[in-house]
Subunit: 278 residues, 2 copies
Amino acid sequence: MKTISTSRSHGGIQGVYSHASSSCDCEMTFAVFVPPQAAERACPVLWYLSGLTCTHQNVMDKGEYRRLAAELGLIVVCPDTSPRGEGVPDEKDNWQFGSGAGFYLDATQEPYARNYRMYSYLTQELPALIGEHFPADMARQSIFGHSMGGHGALTIALKHPQRYKSCSAFAPIVQPSTAGWSKPALEKYLGADEATWRPYDATALIADGHRFDAFLVDQGTADGFLKEGLRPWLLEEACSKAGIALTLRMQEGYDHSYNFISSFMDDHLAWHAERLGK
Amino acid sequence: MKTISTSRSHGGIQGVYSHASSSCDCEMTFAVFVPPQAAERACPVLWYLSGLTCTHQNVMDKGEYRRLAAELGLIVVCPDTSPRGEGVPDEKDNWQFGSGAGFYLDATQEPYARNYRMYSYLTQELPALIGEHFPADMARQSIFGHSMGGHGALTIALKHPQRYKSCSAFAPIVQPSTAGWSKPALEKYLGADEATWRPYDATALIADGHRFDAFLVDQGTADGFLKEGLRPWLLEEACSKAGIALTLRMQEGYDHSYNFISSFMDDHLAWHAERLGK
């Protein structure tokens, strides 16, 4: 693991690191905030998954998570959203596929299957690296994210209900298999057989019997992607049928940007901290 | 005035605007955060001046000021750091002069005197525009800034002790007339006669009899510019001799970045809100 930068922030350390990922067969960059409490004890780990076009850096710059994470004693890990670099297949003019659009799945189709394995990367390789190099209590993990990263958080939590103590999302893509900006990506990564998409679709996972205790979801009413791409009512229906406690908050006048995310970041951090325990 | 963007944030509105500036003879862009209280009453105005290379956007993205400004009912105005655009003279490869390096002065030397008039812009033209277009109580203004913007805040406050209710700075350039990164700029903007530099040098202004009630200054000890460019002890000496109440806090391990600024942003907002009154 290489340290790219570290900077003191709110009493903790905001770092950026990279490593040669075997899952993604390329160099991967990620950000970790370590709170001041880590000097004395291992701290719980909160994973933040970002949205389309983002790297580790967007939330690091604009997410406003460090003040309260430092107070609550949370390590916050912010991975990249896809493999990147020379030799990694991409569609340069398509922001909904390839670089910045890994959709937190393991691709099975060529030429993507070699690199686009964000699901394995985030559930196996990177947790092992975090556990090895940071003062992290890996028995206490939670996960959240924005938009495509909200999709990632929901689907990963539904498949690992024991590992993650809590899950929340900002404006998540709740049914990527039917949304215009994600369906073509699932087809290219996973092939035409839609049955293979179901493990990467929160509503399908719930329909197929996966469960999680509770979700917190915030969604802005002025979000331009609300009606076509996000459609939180589909998650509401699925959770209602399955008996999953969903707290869905429609936030009046908020858009899809980090101004929305940062406005409710504190609520999400508190939600996770409460469930991660002291 | 043109509205470039508005976005709901922490209950208020973060906007970006532009206008044809007569002071700078070019289109100028600035950011304004309007807190929710402005729906009911005019709110005090806090000016934030940014550092070298920045635009209005850096602090808007990374400054983490909106949460508490919304709570305290502060309008926060974040101007650009220089004139810009076609026809504005610049030294493209020099980050310490020209675009992004206006040093909050009125240039007198050609070819800069026509555009580089940030002092007039910030003390006359932009306040008039803010007073006209925003729910601002212009009888209650305060000012702060970072690095070159800290220099701007200190010098502008010292020349207008009645207008600004309070002044603070993050890692300010306190004596630009002798620092390596600013002395060449002062010479190019103002000419070789160093007497003309004194109105744009906080320590010289204090030596020349200008006064301000109190300053809050935070300075990171791991700031790479501390010993050569910033030298807060020069401000400490000047304030001590002049009887100005300086609260200088050396912040252990903090660098020159927005991680430092955002870590102490709340303290500065509270400092200003207390002095701006309810």
